[in-house]
Each structure stands twice: as structure tokens, then as C-alpha cells.
């Protein structure tokens, strides 16, 4: 070693704030140099001195009084924070009154739906419920007899049935391609004639 370690390196060496290479370099030099070793030791002691100074209260300060004052101010600050903080709204559970009102409404709607159903439907439902209640058979067949025109699209054509009568539009040997039935009471079917390739679209509306 031709020179001494710099003051900066010595100051950083004592807290391990050098690279590993520099730490090894300084350690090696200090092992053989009294001056640098004493400097490093002085910096090490200075770190302890700083910790000791900081741990002491400032001269003449009444810590009891100051800490009481801070405690009171912190209490006020926390209380003020509570006042201005956004309220966390609790999701209120349903009480019995709203639940009772909703149950009543549900009964009303169910009753209205039942009363507006076609009589044959309600009769069929009634027979089914009766069978269930009396345990007749392991299965109950519910047959719905629709009232009014009934439109059905099948492989042979589109058929309208009402009050036991039926009217159909057949397609003969045509190959059915697609059926569609709408909730408004109509049926549509597309048929393709396998020989001629002609497509026929049949739509029947029930009104």
C-alpha cells in the first residue's frame, strides 16, 4: 500500500457502506497502519456518540409536561379526524316489516297469476297437486290442454289445432330444413325439395 485510506472511505467503512472489495481493501490496510486503524476506531466511537446524544432529552425540557400536552393534542386530533371522516354506511339488514310487505306482495302476485290462468290449466294443476298430496302413483303426468289456437311446426308441415279441429299445410316429400316457433303464437318452417331444390317457407300466425 502506497497511501492511506481516505477519510471518506474510513467514515463509510465503519458502517459497512462500502463495496465488498473496498471493505476488504480498507480492512487489509488498517491491519497494518496505526493511523488509519485509529481513525476508523474514532469514527466507530462517533457513531455511538451520535446515538447517545439523540437518546437524551434536550437540556431543560420538561418531558412530563410536554408529553401530556402532546397526548392531549393527539386526542383532539383523532377526535377531529373522526368527525370529518366519511361515514361507513352499514348495510342494514331487512327488518320484519319490509320482509312482511314483500311476502304479501308475492302472495298478491301469485294470486293474480293463478286467477288469470285459463281454467283448464288451473284444473290440471289442481289435479296434479291433489295427486301429489294424496300420493297417487310415483309420477304425475301433467297434461296441459291449451285453450285457443295451437300452432305446431313438424317434419310434415305446419299444423294449426283449435277446439279439436286441425288445419295443416304439408310439404310432402320436401326435406324440412328449419323450424321456428315464436312466443307470440306463430310457427314457421322452411322446407327444401330434395328433387328440385326449391325452398318453401310456411308461416302460420295464431291470433
Amino acid at each position: 500500500m502506497t497511501g492511506h485510506v481516505t477519510e471518506t472511505d474510513l467514515a463509510l467503512y465503519v458502517s459497512g457502506d462500502l463495496t465488498l472489495w473496498d471493505i476488504a481493501r480498507v480492512r487489509l490496510h488498517a491491519a497494518g497502519c496505526d493511523r488509519c486503524r485509529r481513525s476508523a476506531e474514532a469514527y466507530r466511537k462517533d457513531r455511538t456518540r451520535v446515538r447517545d446524544i439523540v437518546a437524551e432529552m434536550p437540556e431543560g425540557l420538561d418531558w412530563e409536561r410536554l408529553s401530556s400536552e402532546m397526548t392531549a393534542n393527539i386526542r383532539v386530533g383523532l377526535a377531529a379526524g373522526e368527525c370529518v371522516a366519511p361515514r361507513r354506511h352499514k348495510v342494514a339488514g331487512l327488518g320484519w316489516r319490509p320482509a312482511a310487505a314483500m311476502a304479501g306482495l308475492a302472495v298478491l302476485l301469485a294470486t293474480g297469476w293463478w286467477l288469470n290462468m285459463p281454467p283448464s290449466t288451473t284444473q290440471a294443476l289442481g289435479r296434479a297437486f291433489s295427486a301429489i298430496m294424496h300420493g297417487r302413483g310415483s309420477s304425475v303426468e301433467l297434461v296441459m290442454e291449451p285453450l285457443g289456437p295451437f300452432v305446431e311446426a313438424t317434419a310434415s308441415g305446419v299444423e294449426v289445432r283449435e277446439n279439436g279441429g286441425r288445419l295443416g299445410v304439408g310439404q310432402g316429400s320436401a326435406t324440412p330444413v328449419a323450424f321456428s316457433v315464436t312466443s307470440q303464437g306463430s310457427a314457421s318452417a322452411r322446407y327444401v325439395n330434395g328433387d328440385t331444390g326449391q325452398m318453401t317457407i310456411t308461416s302460420v300466425y295464431a291470433q
Binding site: 471518506t8 463509510l12 465503519v14 458502517s15 469514527y43 432529552m57 431543560g60 425540557l61 401530556s68
Partner: protein, 183 residues
């Protein structure tokens, strides 16, 4: 809740649990001293300590692990002090400007020893006063709080190389001050 004169009723803090009360008791003095050493005067240190604790106690979810909470509180405290220094430009490190009551003296110390102790403390405190705010803050965070250089850099919002420079300069200046005074 009445407070006896001269006593500190930490349980007057509206904390919900004993753990939170213990957190407050264990850290108040340490945080105050850290902030005081950064900003250099008691009134500002008092305000900033209160601010730091209000911030911390409003986040009760952070107080589950008290060791981690203490480290987190230190970060809040040093950031609060550093932000204060930035806002004010420069805070001069002056001698204590508030003498409230005479400090209680140990019955075992002679008057000469008391004077020597006070002089020694003043002499060491003045040594910190020759540092710049950033050098002193870096030194406090590194040597007193025991933070690694990376974290000191994060708190001071600078690079690790800059922090090492602050630490080195701070230590060298402090050493030279002590050597001058000794001479």
C-alpha cells in the same frame, strides 16, 4: 378522565386496545427525539410528533404487529420531518429555546459533574449543528434508526450514492469538529 399534575396519562388516548396504547407509550419519546434531532427545535418537533402519531393511529390496521408498526411509524415520523424541512426551506439548528423547569438532577452528581455533563452534551449537540439538514438526517436515519442506505435514499428521495456521500460528509465533519474542540 382527570389527569394528575405532572403525570402522563397515556391511557387518555382514545385507543381501542391495550396493544395500541402500548404502541403509543413505547414510541412517543423515541419518535419525538428523532424528529427533534432532524428539525432542530422543540416547538416544531412537538407539532410534527403529534402529526405523525395522528397519521399512525388513524391507520389501526397497521398496528397488528407492533415491531413492524414501530418501523412504519419511524418512516412516517422521518418523512413528516423531512417534508417539513422541504416546505420551510431550511430549519436552523439552534440551541434549545425553551427552558420550562429546571431539569431534575441526580442526587449523586456534584454540581461540577452536572456542569461538565451539560457542557459535554452541548458540545456534542453543537457537533450535529455543523452538518447540513440532509447530512444530519442521513446520519440519524443510518446510525440512530439503523436503516440501510437504500432505505435512507428512498426516504430522502435521492440515490444511494448521494446518501453515502451525505453520510460520509456528515461523519467527517463531525469528526473534524470534535478534533478542533479537543485541540
Amino acid at each position: 378522565m382527570s389527569e394528575a399534575p405532572g403525570s402522563t396519562r397515556y391511557d387518555a388516548i382514545p385507543l381501542e386496545t391495550e396493544r395500541q396504547t402500548r404502541f403509543y407509550n413505547e414510541n412517543l419519546r423515541r419518535v419525538f427525539l428523532l424528529i427533534y434531532r432532524i428539525v432542530g427545535n422543540v416547538p416544531d418537533a412537538q407539532d410534527l410528533t403529534q402529526e405523525a402519531f395522528i397519521k399512525a393511529l388513524q391507520r389501526q390496521d397497521q398496528l397488528k404487529d407492533l415491531d413492524k408498526a414501530a418501523h412504519w411509524l419511524s418512516r412516517i415520523a422521518s418523512n413528516t420531518a423531512i417534508d417539513f424541512l422541504r416546505r420551510s426551506g431550511r430549519v436552523s439548528f439552534s440551541d434549545i429555546d425553551e427552558l420550562v423547569d429546571p431539569v431534575a438532577s441526580s442526587p449523586h452528581e456534584s454540581p461540577e459533574e452536572l456542569v461538565l455533563r451539560a457542557e459535554h452534551r452541548e458540545y456534542l449537540e453543537n457537533g450535529l449543528g455543523v452538518l447540513t439538514d440532509r447530512e444530519r438526517t442521513a446520519l440519524l436515519l443510518r446510525d440512530v434508526e439503523g436503516l440501510p442506505a437504500e432505505e435512507v435514499a428512498a426516504r430522502l428521495n435521492c440515490s444511494k450514492a448521494t446518501v453515502r456521500s451525505h453520510i460520509a460528509n456528515g461523519r467527517v465533519k463531525f469528526r473534524r469538529y470534535l478534533e478542533r474542540r479537543k485541540a
